[in-house]
Amino acid sequence: MKFTVDWLKNHLDTKFNNNQIIDKLTNIGLEVESFESSTSELDTFIVAKIINAKTHPNADRLKLCDVDIGSDKTIEVVCGAPNAKNGLLTVYAPPGSIIPKNQLKLSVSKIRGVTSYGMLCSESELLLSNESDGIIELKNNKYANKIGEKYFKNTSEKVIDLSITPNRPDCLGVRGIARDLSAAGAGKLKINKKSNLKYRGNQNINVTIKKEKAQGCTIFGSCLIKGVTNKESPKWLKDKIKSLGQKPISAIVDITNYVMFDLNRPLHAYDADKIDNEIIVRSSSKGESFEALDNKKYILENDMCVISDRSGVLGLGGIIGGTRSGTEYSTKNILLESAYFLPRSIRKTSKQLNIDTDAKFRFERGIDPLSIEDGLIKASELIKQICGGEISNLDVKKIDNYKKTIINFDPFLFEKTTGFNVKNKELIKILEKLGFDISKNKKILRLVVPSWRPDITQSIDIVEEIVRIKGYEHINTSEPIKTRLKPTLNYYQKLFHFLQRSVASKGYLETVTWSFTDSKINQLFKENDEEIPIVNPISSDLNVLRNSIFPNLLFYLKKNLDRGFKDISLFEIGPAFKGKNPGDQLTVIGAVRTGMVSRLSWNDKERIVDTFDVKKDVIQSLCEAGIDKDDIVIDDKTPSYYHPGKSGGVYQNKNEKNALAYFGEIHPNIIKKLDIKTESLVIFEIYLDYIKESKQKIKDLKSEYKFSDFQKSERDFAFIISKNFKSQELVNIIKCVDNKLIKSVRVFDVFEGENIPEGKKSIAVNVTIQSEEKTLNENDLENINKLIISSVESKSGAKIRS
């Protein structure tokens, strides 16, 4: 909402200066976005000096001028003026300027083969005089030190731009703003002068508001103004319209606009002679169409509120008028409309047709239904004053009566809500100035809400009015109450933070990517999940919710590889979507690693990152987050985007349905499809929701401390075993031989090839044996050895290597 201070003073008697007004507006909730002069087309013309004028290489009568325009570099301008000479001070118009004389927009152009950046102007081109023989010659003493400054002073008055919240339609008019300021002590609201308008005759174009279920109009007020002379608006009106950032059109249109911004009362003027017999306000039928004043043709749906005549639709009520009945300079007779349209209807129609107008913006928020006549009178007066004509009696048709809103307000609610007290007397004064009618019933105030405040419906709204006008600075700053109702984080929230930092501590950079992704990439990772398209995506490559974190992670991985990074470790923790209903999402960590370990190391051998690097990262992170390593079971079934032979799933227990995590190489087909070029690419993912919450706190989990001081022995075994036999099972078989004595089993060599039969491998394990009761003698150890060998051989079909 834009207006000038002068305009405000039409409604407000105030001693406040501009800055005080600005501060007050913001303090009462009418946020000032800016307070500055409106920009003018003339702002671009600047004082310049010709440094060097030489003859154009291809045209004797043209000159090539180096022009100083106050910036670092001079500008080259081609000029045909005979008086262009070295040292001349003149006016320069850069490309983009609009030349006042012909309203042409300058562009960079080639003149006889030489590029000219802008133009040097003559007085006639700037409409300063008829002098067109040469360029302007500015006086040295006045302009010598003004090179680069604007030639035309911007004399337009400073404009206040307010950001009005959607609950305050009343402040979409200058008078409403003045009223708020007066309530806040910034002056006195001027009383509207009683109109002494003389009416002649009746409004004889019949108006009917059809009683329909979807009728979006409840009141239609109008008057006829006969014998007008439409013309350009006088300067004061033009200035007002310009201060709004709009272009003056004609007196009649400008007046209706002016009244809209002045009183927040949208009006519409029809050329009465173009109306076919009568006005019918009705709901549209699908397929009806009309050409609107924005020069677009709109095809209507059912149940849109239209103003029509016998020939069809004239315009969309409260939104936009039509060209068929538009006023022109030749218009002689006007039908002026001042109506009330239901916000819901306006909103629905404008959304469907995607139209936004100043009238729509206001009706949608709620116009004062009692302002019908005020609007007609104010506009008629101005029309009569500027364009002449005779005004008919006002005709107001209604299908619904306005009902007052009454609130019984207990002033105690104010203190209860805001924490401070305002005396009843002051409180009543504020409300009166805002336009409330107040009567008292003991402690309760009976408030009649002003008709221009559709936002006020209940007591809390009254509290807001008072505290807003009184000023938020009166609210005390209480010490925070530290009472805690429950622990800050629950188990899964702690897990989130812990795993996030745990993974990062393994050298991964955390990233945050969109929750949506490209369906083409997503499809490679979605497995059996349903695709979740966004109806209105921001772009076609962010058109689905991600089923997995990897589509985005790999997309950005590729970008970083393209930047020249080779050894990359990236992860994200966040949602992966499994369905389109609220809650169909899992919290997942997705991580990727590429390139080498120990690249270009002077002492370590470099090698590509592999499955066991990410396996370590994933297992260590899980252990750090509190999962017992002994519980972890690895499986080789993984989603299809993994390399089928080089990936694994991690389970918290043997019989769990859902894997906690997957790790491994990504499927070569995917690398190829995404055109990712790297030496190696391994990934892992952790599903936080599938981690079981431990029932015990760590304080309960710490068991009695036991250790053995008896000597421990280590024995090595090498088995020849089927190539597909899993080392995890071999280790389990050995552990099960004697859970008490066998403290650890470590695989220290795996070997295939020379001396090993086809389809077999050799696995070497180191077993630590220790008793908690005694030192084991050779005999005991020998027995265990035999037991280990026989168990392994019988359960796995392995053979001990001798």
Binding site: P166, V463, L545
Partner: protein, 355 residues
């Protein structure tokens, strides 16, 4: 006796110049071996008179001690020399690089969320979360924003179905609704998380982060709201004083509503929070609207309280001098390394919010 003294002096001279450990050992056995010179002298003691023996024995013991000391210091001396020589040869260039260090980083958004959670934890708030996909009711209607309300235009919403029933939450406020629907007052929560609006330019990203705050109890008023936010802003920006301005505004789900500005100035091209006479809007807040309380089955005549919503990304940008919002989500390795935080740098009260 004089012989012995001479022998002793000879050997002392010899040991003084000797540098070979083997030869020193040979001398040792020449003197103290089974038939060593000194050993033999001791054997002779038995053959002489008691009077003489006493003196001679004492002299002999002195000579023995002297020689033995000499020998052991000599051995030590030679050994030290040898070790030093060996160590000298083993010297390496310790300025050669260590084995590769892999430094991971926490994203600024995550760090700021942890900072915020830590601050609010201090004053008794717990963390709640809600789904990213919401239904229309929780995101709008329950929050006193019916379909025909123009306030909906302020949120450019991503929809998942044509009926506009399912959407990506446009703010974290639906977590208020969920929290209150599933529990009983009092409530004291914050809810950080992802939020979405179909808006994309230099200063807007289609996804961003908000933290919602909600405190509902019997006598919570606007003074508490002011106190809570004043505390938060001071703690977050780690300054003693903060210039803060509460200004009336409008949100459908709070009444009265406020926007909060903080004072700032530009010093040497950098933004300094807390000083200066410029205002920067950083959050929206207010008293929870009675209609919202009714919608979630909380009796507004018994309970009342405040709610607030803060843009997390923006707070992070202000605190850590990050200019471009969109860079948060573009996964540029250089940016992540530059603005990321060490994973061990966990914001907490006792260790300090940030290093």
């Amino acid at each position: 006796m004089s012989d012995i003294k001479k022998i002793k002096d000879d050997y002392i001279d010899k040991l003084n110049t000797e540098n070979n450990i083997e030869k020193v050992n040979n001398i040792k056995s020449e003197l103290f071996g089974k038939n060593g010179i000194i050993s033999n002298e001791f054997k002779k003691l038995g053959l002489i008179s008691v009077d003489e023996r006493k003196k001679l024995a004492s002299d002999l013991n002195n000579i023995k001690d002297e020689l033995q000391n000499k020998i052991s210091t000599k051995i030590q001396e030679i050994e030290t020399k040898e070790i030093n020589l060996k160590l000298e040869k083993e010297k390496i260039d310790v300025t050669l690089p260590e084995r590769n260090i892999e430094i991971g980083k926490i994203h600024p958004v995550s760090q700021v969320i942890d900072e915020i959670s830590s601050i609010f934890s201090e004053i008794g708030f717990s963390v709640e979360e809600g789904p990213d996909v919401e239904n229309e009711y929780n995101n709008f209607t329950a929050l006193n924003t019916p379909d025909n309300h123009p306030a909906r235009d302020m949120h450019d919403t991503f929809y998942l179905d044509n009926n506009k029933e399912l959407l990506l939450r446009t703010h974290t406020s639906p977590v208020q609704v969920r929290t209150m629907l599933k529990g009983k007052p009092p409530f004291k929560i914050i809810a950080p998380g992802r939020t979405y609006r179909s808006d994309s330019d230099q200063t807007h990203a289609p996804m961003f982060h908000q933290v919602e705050g909600l405190h509902i109890d019997k006598n919570i008023n606007m003074g508490h709201l002011k106190g809570c936010l004043n505390y938060f802003i001071k703690e977050f920006f780690e300054v003693d004083k903060i210039k803060m301005r509460f200004r009336p505004s409008h949100f459908p789900f709070t009444e009265p509503s406020a926007e909060v500005d903080i004072g700032y100035e530009i010093k040497n091209g950098k933004i300094v929070i807390g000083e200066g006479n410029k205002w920067l809007e950083i959050l929206g807040c207010g008293m929870v609207h009675p209609n919202v309380l009714k919608n979630v089955n909380v009796n507004p005549s018994k309970y009342q309280g405040y709610a607030f919503g803060i843009g997390i990304d923006r707070l992070g940008m202000l605190k850590y001098g990050i200019n471009d919002l969109r860079a948060f989500f573009e996964t540029d390795y250089r940016w992540l390394s530059h603005f990321g935080f060490d994973p061990l740098d966990v914001p907490s009260n006792y260790r300090g919010l940030s290093r």
